[in-house]
């Protein structure tokens, strides 16, 4: 009977807010009635098969694992059980997959794909796949040669190459099934994002917001790799796939918004890349993704709202039709890409059950949005924000502090918070637990000055036009890992970190959340309280996203990459030691990071002892 009560309580916790759980001592009958009601509302956690087949675990991009062996009570018994050097030094963003007792790992450039046999001692390789990737891509990738991981479906592992190709590899044999050129390196397009496979469609997009690309998403046929449709994020409706009959943005009216909100033909160099994550709601049949910055960084060269830069887009997977869009940061002035994940959840807001997406933007606001319509329900800052006072609930438009607007005529604009690294980086995806009702977010605590200048467009070179030094934020810490209540728009707890927090996270049915730090600590924390449960120094800063899965032995494992890089390859260039012909001073806002970490790609796996 006590086991039954424990399970019922555990189940109930998935349906009750943290406040409502306080002092909870309900009768069994009360518990059962709540479960039945909640079950009727479809609040069940996703089914758990112990695998990890999509970049963010599921279509909803929750990064929630239904595994519960590791708990706050036993997490101190976690131990590293296996490591593997990927042989590559670039920033190891993203996450592995685990499918049919095989772990798939994609490295940064040169984008090697490893397939580890988890059934054999020492996890030897089934095979590795080494694509021929154009090294000139290293000079077109803005922010280190990262890759955010593969996706699996129908016996294929599908991922993107830095030089603008998508490949499908047979999951059993490692043989290449197809390879499709999706992006044009010569005009500044590279590819770093993780594809999402929706049915028989592979959804992909480019990086290149710093090279004046005209950003897009494409759908490829999973079977053949053939490009089925391309939807641009700026430009005429015919390119944006915004049919006036089916495009219904919640706040905007009119046609050709991707054209008329750009001065002249500046939309042709709009930027608006797609380098983050894609999610999908099968019931609404809508895919969601965020678009990146507007180009160049000198906004006076592209007057207007610049739609759909820094926006969330909702499209039909079948034909790419844009159904709604919402712009987080109109006339984007601060490199506030909106490429961070859109996490789909069902939340009760003001007494009503709402199908929402939750998005933590680089601009420092956390948004809870009706994912059927694009209506903003909640928008509150989750870090220090001073470029806007808030988001107007009637219009969805930020109330901008005009003294923080940038441009070549404005000189050096000081103390803009958050910095262009974002309140959180899209490189460090958040997680969501339907058990706690909380979102777990890696955050940054520093600000910037912005001195814009006239940018020259020279194809094949950066199109930027700004100098942007950073300054530490308040309270002497550069980052924090936080738990967020997206119904009330408030922080529930935080773990302060000395350095920016740049890893993703995974939260589990054991109510443990895992993340890593820039100075190389892998951590486990109690998902309800934020109490730290376990830590281990993993050899390099963590910019990847941990996953959890069931091994062939039935045990719960947690895997994560170590391997500092991404923007830190640029900003803290003294963390590298591989090139004797490239020696750099430390970043002045963070002078001692290289004391604690150095580049190195290592895959780590943890389990209870």
């Amino acid at each position: 009977m006590s086991d039954t009560i424990t399970r019922l309580n555990a189940a109930l916790e998935g349906f009750a807010s943290p406040e409502h759980r306080v002092g909870f001592a309900a009768s069994i009958g009360f518990v059962l009635s709540l479960i039945l009601v909640a079950g009727a509302e479809g609040q069940e956690a996703p089914r758990e098969d112990g695998q990890w087949t999509m970049p963010a675990k599921d279509y909803a991009a929750t990064r929630y694992s239904g595994l519960g062996e590791i708990t706050p009570a036993n997490a101190a018994r976690l131990r590293p059980v296996w490591t593997f050097s990927t042989g590559v030094l670039g920033g190891h963003e993203g996450q592995p997959l685990v499918v049919n007792n095989t772990m798939y790992v994609v490295t940064p450039y040169p984008n090697v794909l490893y397939a580890f046999d988890l059934t054999e001692e020492g996890y030897p390789l089934h095979w590795k796949y080494r694509p021929d990737v154009n090294p000139f891509a290293l000079g077109i990738a803005c922010c280190d040669a990262v890759n955010r991981g593969p996706a699996y479906a129908d016996g294929k592992v599908v991922y993107n190459l830095l030089d603008g190709h998508t490949v499908a590899v047979d999951a059993i044999t490692g043989r290449e099934v197809w390879k499709t050129k999706i992006a044009e390196l010569s005009i500044g397009e590279t590819v770093t994002m993780a594809p999402l496979i929706i049915g028989d469609r592979v959804i992909v997009g480019p990086s290149g917001g710093e090279f004046g690309i005209q950003g897009w998403v494409k759908a490829l046929d999973l079977e053949t790799g053939r490009i089925l449709w391309t939807g641009y994020n700026a430009g005429p409706d015919s390119q944006v796939l915004a049919n006036p009959d089916t495009f219904r943005p919640f706040y905007d009216e009119g046609t050709e918004l991707g054209l008329t909100t750009w001065a002249g033909d500046t939309w042709k160099l709009a930027g608006v890349p797609v380098w983050g994550w894609i999610s999908y709601d099968p019931d609404l049949d809508l895919l969601y993704y965020g678009t990146g910055n507007a180009a160049p960084y000198n906004p006076e060269q592209r007057l207007g709202d610049n739609k759909w830069a820094a926006s969330v887009m909702a499209r039909r997977p079948a034909d790419g039709a844009l159904v709604w869009a919402y712009q987080f940061t109109p006339h984007e002035n601060w490199d506030y890409d909106a490429n961070a994940e859109m996490i789909l959840a069902d939340l009760t807001i003001e007494g009503a059950r709402r199908r929402v997406l939750v998005h933590f933007d680089k601009n420092g606001f956390a948004y809870t949005i009706d994912r059927a319509t694009g209506e903003v329900l909640v928008a509150e800052p989750f870090v220090e924000v001073n470029w806007a006072r808030g988001i107007d609930p009637a219009t969805g438009v930020p109330q901008v502090d005009s003294t923080k607007l940038t441009g070549a005529s404005k000189g050096n604009v000081e103390n803009i918070c958050p910095s262009l690294e974002g309140g959180t980086s899209p490189a460090s995806p958040a997680s969501y637990s339907p058990r706690t009702g909380l979102f777990y977010v890696s955050t940054n605590n520093f600000c910037m000055s912005w001195e814009a200048s006239e940018a020259a467009y020279i194809v094949g070179t950066p199109y930027i036009g700004a100098s942007i030094p950073y300054t530490p934020g308040a309270d002497g810490h550069l980052g924090a890992f936080i738990a967020w209540d997206a119904v009330r728009g408030r922080k529930v707890w935080e773990i302060r970190e000395k350095y920016p927090v740049w890893s993703g996270s995974v939260v589990t049915a054991g109510d443990v959340v895992f993340y890593g730090t820039l100075d190389g600590w892998f951590r486990a924390a109690d998902a309800r309280s934020g109490e730290l449960l376990y830590r281990f120094k993993v050899g390099s800063g963590v910019v990847g996203a941990p996953i959890s899965y069931t091994g062939p032995d039935g045990k719960q494992y947690v895997a994560v990459y170590a391997g500092i890089g991404g923007d830190w390859f640029l900003v803290a260039g003294d963390v590298r030691s591989d090139d004797p012909a490239d020696v750099r001073p430390p970043a002045d806002f963070m002078p001692d990071l290289a004391r604690h970490t150095s580049q190195g790609g290592i895959l780590w796996i943890f389990a209870l002892d």
């Binding site: 000139f136 990738a141 922010c143 960084y297 020259a456 942007i468 640029l570 260039g573 090139d579 750099r584």
Partner: protein, 136 residues
């Protein structure tokens, strides 16, 4: 993407960039005959000014960082060179590009412009403390 004006070391600067890139290994110990590229500007100060302007206008600093301290591309002010640091070698890097990402500018820049950039880069002071980063 990030553009940061990294604060460099303020330690004393030497004005004579040193490069070991000339210490090649030659099969059989014999250097191949090469065409000597001579910088027509030598260390002409006007060329330094022109080169500084071109360094910005051609987006060099967007990759190599403001002042060439290193960013996406390697530092140009550490006295170290992947592909050789004498005038002719720098000219070749700018003219023809390099396969780890350096675009080729020879199609859009005249000889004099490239040599001006070379002269500017070679005029940058090299901090004395390059090999050591110490926290004690």
């Amino acid at each position: 993407m990030v553009v940061v004006a990294c604060g460099g070391s303020d330690s004393g600067a030497s004005t004579s960039p040193s490069s070991d890139a000339g210490d090649r290994v030659f099969a059989g110990g014999v250097a191949p005959p090469t065409e000597i590229l001579e910088n027509p500007f030598d260390s002409d100060t006007d060329a330094v000014v022109v080169g500084e302007g071109l360094f910005a206008a051609m987006n060099c600093g967007e990759c190599h960082g403001g002042g060439g301290v290193g960013f996406v591309g390697p530092s140009l002010v550490d006295g170290r060179w992947r592909y050789g640091g004498d005038d002719g070698e720098l000219y070749q890097s700018i003219y023809a590009g390099r396969s780890r990402g350096m675009p080729a500018y020879g199609g859009i820049l005249a000889d004099a412009a490239i040599w001006s950039i070379v002269t500017y880069v070679r005029a940058q002071p090299i901090p004395e403390s390059v090999p050591t980063e110490s926290w004690r």
